[in-house]
């Protein structure tokens, strides 16, 4: 009961901070909101008793990725006020992608979707060794493939910057 309440609380916080990431104009504020969002996700994992995933969430995303982001923002020219522009040219495609993604998630994770939550009865408690073994045998290829997505993201960001210049 208490755990469920905490999951709802951190879920709401994660959504709120994710929203702030999208609407915050100041880059540092957006980065801090992203940190808070990641921490909220870690708290949800901790509530679900998967402490290792929660710790990796903080270790990798907050402790490494976000630290570098904050470092980069720290070194931005504070006289550059481009972020104060009210509208961006990419607003329309951005909103369209967000709506499509939302609908797709609703379709997959909705009550009748293939990814609808099922009961976890019969699953054993989370163990670090079992997680490590599964990660290094069954999931390492998926993990490596996900890095290709990251690479695509970096190339996209670079292309956007080039275009603006």
């Amino acid at each position: 009961m208490i755990v469920d309440a905490f999951i709802v609380l951190f879920g709401v916080l994660a959504l709120v901070f994710a929203g702030i990431v999208l609407v915050a104009r100041q880059p540092m504020r957006a980065a801090l909101a992203l940190v808070a969002h990641m921490t909220s996700l870690a708290a949800i994992f901790a509530c679900l008793d998967v402490h290792v995933i929660a710790l990796f969430q903080v270790l990798i995303y907050v402790g490494a990725v976000m630290v570098f982001m904050v470092y980069t923002i720290m070194l931005l020219d504070d006289r550059d006020l481009a972020y104060r522009k009210r509208f961006s040219a990419t607003l329309v495609p951005g909103v369209a992608v967000a709506v499509v993604t939302g609908l797709a998630l609703l379709r997959v994770l909705g009550p009748a979707g293939p990814g609808a939550p099922t009961t976890t009865t019969g699953l054993g408690p989370f163990s670090f060794s079992a997680f490590s073994a599964a990660f290094m045998t069954r999931y390492w290829l998926h993990f490596e493939l996900a890095t290709v997505l990251l690479l695509a993201g970096i190339v996209a960001a670079w292309a956007v910057i080039r275009e603006e210049r």
Partner: protein, 375 residues
């Protein structure tokens, strides 16, 4: 449910008192050590007077820590014209809270059974029953990951402080701090992985028990001990690694624009970090809360001789052992602060990337090979 809440509430209260108390004592130790090294008397002026009497409690100047704290609290809370007041106010908390959080997974004693402290059949004994609790706020199975994860968050506070202060010295200090902390975190992580490979666990309490059964970590992983201690002092930004706040170049570095208790939080977190680093060194390399021959039933000496002790006495001995070890390691860290001169920045980076990191990697490879052959 209620016994859990009570026990963990007491643990949290004890750990907060332990960290803040020992950090305050370390401020006095630092002054006294510098005085001894410079052939001076050192801090000995602050005293408490017993009300309505002329009796003054000086106690070798131990109350200077309290005087410092009161001074910080009552000073004017001046804030500069920053361009981000929210980040400016958030930074001291982001720098100090993770330091406190790291201690949550450190075991400061063995298992405690509170029901055995009371008369059998009494209400208190009935309340606790025969349940046992580890003397650790959060008994996580991946404790060492928690240490690495949370200690990485503290960097954000330092960077935010320098960035939001709107001051070039603060900005330079923040850039230096971030570069330094990120650089040394890599070597520290590799040193810890070697320790994990040796002990075969990521649970800090299991690491202590492994050392009790086999040998202290400092004997089986001496290189990792040196690497971890060096990298930790660098993470704490203290001399000889205090370039982010060196007064001769950057006034006070990233917290130049902070006054009153906000500056106090930065200073206090530095001393709390000494305690936390000492606690981690003790847990990982010096046997944690264990004493040679001390078992749950009392002292069991070689040859079978036994000196039985009550459960309460064993618990107290374990807690005192841990405290004493932490105090000695903390004094050693402060001794380093008064012994070594400050590095130049290029020397600092060279030490981190060209010496500590390759050494940590080599240590890990050797550890892995030895572990492979001994498994």
């Amino acid at each position: 449910m209620m016994p859990d809440l009570l026990v963990h509430g007491l643990y949290i209260a004890y750990v907060l008192g332990f960290l803040l108390g020992l950090a305050t004592i370390f401020t006095w130790v630092e002054r006294k050590q510098s005085a001894v090294m410079a052939d001076r008397i050192g801090a000995n002026r602050a005293y408490l007077r017993i009300p309505f009497t002329q009796v003054k409690l000086v106690w070798w100047g131990l109350f200077h820590g309290i005087a410092d704290g009161l001074k910080m609290i009552f000073k004017e809370n001046f804030t500069p014209a920053t361009y981000d007041r929210f980040c400016y106010n958030l930074a001291p908390w982001l720098a100090s809270v993770p330091v406190l959080l790291v201690f949550a997974v450190v075991p400061f004693g063995g298992e405690v059974t509170p029901g055995r402290f009371f008369e059998p059949g009494s209400a208190a004994a009935e309340f606790f029953g025969d349940r046992s609790w580890r003397m650790q706020i959060a008994a996580l199975d991946a404790g060492i990951l928690f240490v690495l994860a949370i200690s990485g968050v503290g960097i954000l506070g330092t960077m935010l402080a320098g960035w939001s202060s709107n001051n070039k010295f603060s900005m330079l200090g923040a850039a230096r701090a971030a570069s330094q902390m990120i650089s040394y975190e890599v070597a520290m992580g590799l040193a810890l992985i070697a320790v994990v490979v040796t002990y075969g666990t990521v649970d800090l309490n299991d690491m202590v028990l492994w050392q009790q059964q086999a040998a202290w970590g400092i004997l089986v992983q001496p290189v990792a001990f040196l690497l971890f201690l060096t990298a930790s002092i660098a993470e704490n930004k203290r001399i000889p690694f205090d370039l982010p706040e060196c007064e001769s170049e950057l006034i006070s570095g990233y917290f130049t624009e902070y006054t009153s208790m906000k500056m106090g939080l930065f200073l206090l977190s530095e001393f709390i970090e000494i305690v936390v680093i000492s606690a981690l060194v003790v847990t990982l390399f010096l046997g944690g809360y264990t004493l040679p021959f001390l078992r749950p039933e009392g002292f069991v000496l070689p040859g079978g001789a036994t000196w039985e002790l009550s459960h309460f006495a064993v618990v107290v001995l374990q807690v005192l052992t841990f405290t004493a070890k932490v105090f000695v390691v903390g004094c050693f860290q402060i001794g380093i602060r008064w012994t070594l001169p400050r590095f130049r920045y290029d020397q600092l980076m060279d030490l981190g990337w060209k010496f500590l990191l390759p050494l940590a990697a080599l240590n890990l490879v050797v550890t892995a090979v030895v572990r492979w052959w001994t498994l």
